[in-house]
């Protein structure tokens, strides 16, 4: 090779190298600070929205201020499969996972949680000690409820699930969550199964009844828009959201008939980087002030006697999981769901898309 080309060649590659270098540097500059790290951060996996705001205010903000910890929040709390993938792959998983009855049972059966160190946890204030297990302490109780649009039904909406299924009497679109937990149960209630005979769920019968109403329903995770704007006139939706919508001026009402009730717990996932901090948060979630704050903002039922005892009968009549509402509502059976969820959800997805 002659001198001229020897001198010329590297220049082209010089540009290439410079470009690569520039890209590399900027990427490095972006910083891949992946993972929530150890020490001073706490990773909480919840559900977003106003719920997140309320929980932050009631629990995480005061905790963060006190413990000097930065709390990072995602919205995948109910995504069992995703968390399972993370844990199976050995990657770092959230410190605190927000669970309801059914997801807790699944997390437990898939061995995705760390046992709580009871020696460091004071649970004496918990009213129903039978709800405490190796991995969880009850935090609050919440429900999904039968709602209806009061503008569409000025003379009163459906009072039972059977009436929700009665499209001629209550015309209009219904909305249900886009996941099977709770939805199969209300379908069975509509079909006439008594609420104490729900479990084990007759899945075939449930789908049979869901078929009847599918054409008149949407199955959607976020139904705020649909409910708030009156696109749907009745159905099943999370109580906290219904209250939110009412506050926003939406013409809706709800009742306790056949409302699926769940117990919410904060748990520590297997690959948590900061289980000690997570335990501190769980302890704090059992404090009277934190429980009171949840009650005030979300209207979910406390689990500690110090707050429960102050509730008036009127309050209790409109809270999930109290003696008063339990007459009409029912508890979701986490054990059943833990055993059957994977198989039911496949059928559910296919049914939903078809």
């Amino acid at each position: 090779m002659s001198m001229t080309t020897a001198l010329r060649r590297p220049r082209t590659s010089l540009i290439a190298a410079a470009t690569a270098l520039a890209c590399g540097l900027t990427l490095a500059g972006c910083g891949s600070d992946g993972g929530a790290g150890g020490g001073d951060t706490l990773w909480y996996s919840g559900f977003g929205g106003t719920y997140e705001l309320s929980v932050k205010k009631a629990l995480f903000d005061p905790y963060a201020a006190e413990a000097g910890v930065e709390v990072k929040i995602d919205k995948n709390g109910s995504n069992v499969t995703q968390l399972n993938e993370i844990i199976k792959s050995g990657r770092q998983s959230p410190d605190v996972v927000d669970t309801e009855t059914a997801t807790l049972a699944q997390f437990m059966s898939k061995q995705m949680l760390q046992p709580l160190d009871k020696s460091k946890l004071n649970v004496t204030d918990v009213a129903d000690q039978s709800l405490i297990n190796e991995f969880s302490v009850p935090w609050y109780q919440f429900s999904r409820n039968l709602y209806w649009n009061t503008k569409s039904f000025p003379n009163g909406g459906p009072t039972t699930w059977a009436e929700v299924w009665d499209v001629s009497k209550f015309p209009g679109k219904r909305s249900f969550p886009d996941r099977p937990i709770g939805t199969l149960e209300v379908a069975l209630l509509a079909s006439g199964v008594p609420k104490d005979k729900l479990y084990p769920l007759d899945v075939d019968r449930a789908f049979q009844w869901l078929d009847k109403i599918k054409a008149d329903s949407i199955f959607i995770n976020q139904a705020d828009t649909a409910i708030g704007q009156g696109n749907v006139v009745t159905g099943l939706y999370t109580l906290g959201r219904l209250l939110d919508l009412q506050k926003g001026g939406a013409a809706i009402d709800y009742n306790w008939a056949g409302a699926p009730v769940s117990v919410q717990s904060l748990t520590i996932s297997k690959n948590a980087a900061n289980p000690a901090k997570a335990l501190e948060v769980i302890q704090r979630s059992l404090s009277a002030e934190s429980q009171q704050a949840i009650l005030d903002s979300l209207r979910y039922t406390p689990t500690v006697t110090s707050v429960l005892d102050k509730l008036t009968p009127e309050q209790r009549a409109d809270l999930p999981g109290t003696e008063e509402t339990n007459k009409d509502s029912f508890y979701v059976d986490g054990t059943w769901w833990a055993q059957h969820y994977d198989e039911v959800v496949k059928r559910w997805q296919s049914w939903l898309n078809a």
Partner: protein, 372 residues
């Protein structure tokens, strides 16, 4: 310094197996104005690009000032190129364009300043130095392009149809300027054009190209007077071309029927040939005026007055129509359509070009050698 500014030896260029240029030998002397003349697609621009180093020859050697350019890239050849579209950098001013090659040669700021001013002076563009090149007129752009190509005193100046985009009047003026420039600078110029008048007017020597080959080279007058082929003859100037067959040494029969004497050539009897006579070599004589030169009598069919000269087309039985140009002067021939007229010439003014496809003894020999 070598005798030749540019030499090409056995140079060829192929694109995808198609040979577009084949130059066994070409030499441009120092200080010579050398033109490559040919129709479009004749390979002249390809030749120029090989010399400039924009493309590499498929085979052969390009030698500039005695130095083989095989391993020298375009930016190291110290050649000036003037492009047909000028290729002035549109994002630079006139002065920046002219300064560019000097900057590439890492001259000092003062030197650049001075030489840019000089070069712009040379082309009368001093006042335009800070104008954006794109806002100049075609002729002005042309001169910037020249200034840019000469400012670093290149060993060789290549010009690719530099006047092609200009109108006739401007072209004529710039031809004059180019000649002047060439005299002043004494630089060797290789000039590509398809305009025969331009090539004739400017060049010391001309190479006529066709189908990727140089079909003839020489001084303009030599080419004009003694073209080596019908192509050259037709390409340079106007012609009366008469298809004919050689009937014997010094005689031919035209396809139209008539027989006429021709200069003796190697063509054997029976060979097909084209006879050509330049229009200005024809003499017209009024009916009855005696002229003993070879020729025919005919009738004027058409008269085209061109100012300095007049063209007559004369219909002749057994020959066809011949065009004759007559310089206008007080005593020159003058006639009108319908006039009978004698058309005469000198025997040597007739050129005989045997048809390449017709068998001739010379061809047969060449073929035999090739086969062996």
């Amino acid at each position: 310094m070598s005798e030749f500014s540019l030499s090409m030896r056995e140079v060829s260029k192929e694109y995808g197996g198609l040979r577009v240029l084949d130059v066994p030998e070409l030499d441009v002397r120092q200080g010579e104005f050398f033109s490559l003349l040919g129709p479009s697609g004749s390979g002249k621009t390809t030749g120029l690009r090989l010399v400039a180093g924009f493309e590499a020859p498929t085979a052969g050697r390009v030698i500039i000032n005695g130095r083989d350019m095989a391993r020298v890239s375009a930016d190291k050849r110290n050649i000036g190129v003037v492009f047909q579209n000028y290729a002035l950098f549109p994002h630079m001013t006139v002065a920046e364009n002219v300064a560019f090659p000097l900057q590439m040669r890492s001259l000092s700021g003062q030197d650049i300043e001075r030489r840019v001013a000089e070069a712009l002076e040379q082309v009368d563009l001093g006042p335009f130095r800070d104008r954006n090149a794109a806002t100049l007129s075609g002729g002005q752009q042309q001169r910037v392009a020249i200034a840019r190509a000469i400012v670093y005193e290149p060993d060789l100046l290549l010009m690719d149809e530099p006047l092609g985009a200009l109108d006739r009047r401007l072209r004529a003026r710039l031809q004059g300027e180019l000649r002047g420039l060439h005299h002043r600078l004494g630089v060797s110029i290789v000039y590509v054009t398809h305009d025969q008048d331009e090539a004739m007017a400017l060049s010391d020597r001309v190479a006529i190209m066709n189908g990727g080959r140089i079909v003839q080279q020489g001084a303009p007058k030599e080419l004009y007077d003694t073209p080596a082929s019908l192509f050259v003859s037709n390409f340079l100037g106007d012609n009366n071309a008469l298809p004919a067959a050689i009937t014997g040494p010094g005689s031919a029969r035209l396809e139209a029927g008539a027989t006429m004497p021709v200069p003796r050539t190697g063509a054997s009897a029976g060979a097909a040939a084209d006879l050509t006579i330049r229009p200005e070599r024809l003499r017209l004589t009024a009916d009855g005026v005696r002229d003993d030169g070879p020729g025919f009598d005919g009738v004027i069919a058409d008269v085209v007055a061109l100012g300095a000269m007049t063209q007559y087309s004369v219909r002749i039985d057994g020959v066809g129509t011949l065009w004759a140009s007559v310089q206008n002067s007080a005593h020159a021939f003058s006639g009108v359509p319908g006039d009978r007229v004698g058309v005469r010439w000198e025997l040597d003014d007739v050129h005989v070009f045997p048809r390449p496809d017709s068998p001739s003894p010379a061809d047969e020999t060449a073929k035999a050698t090739a086969d062996a």
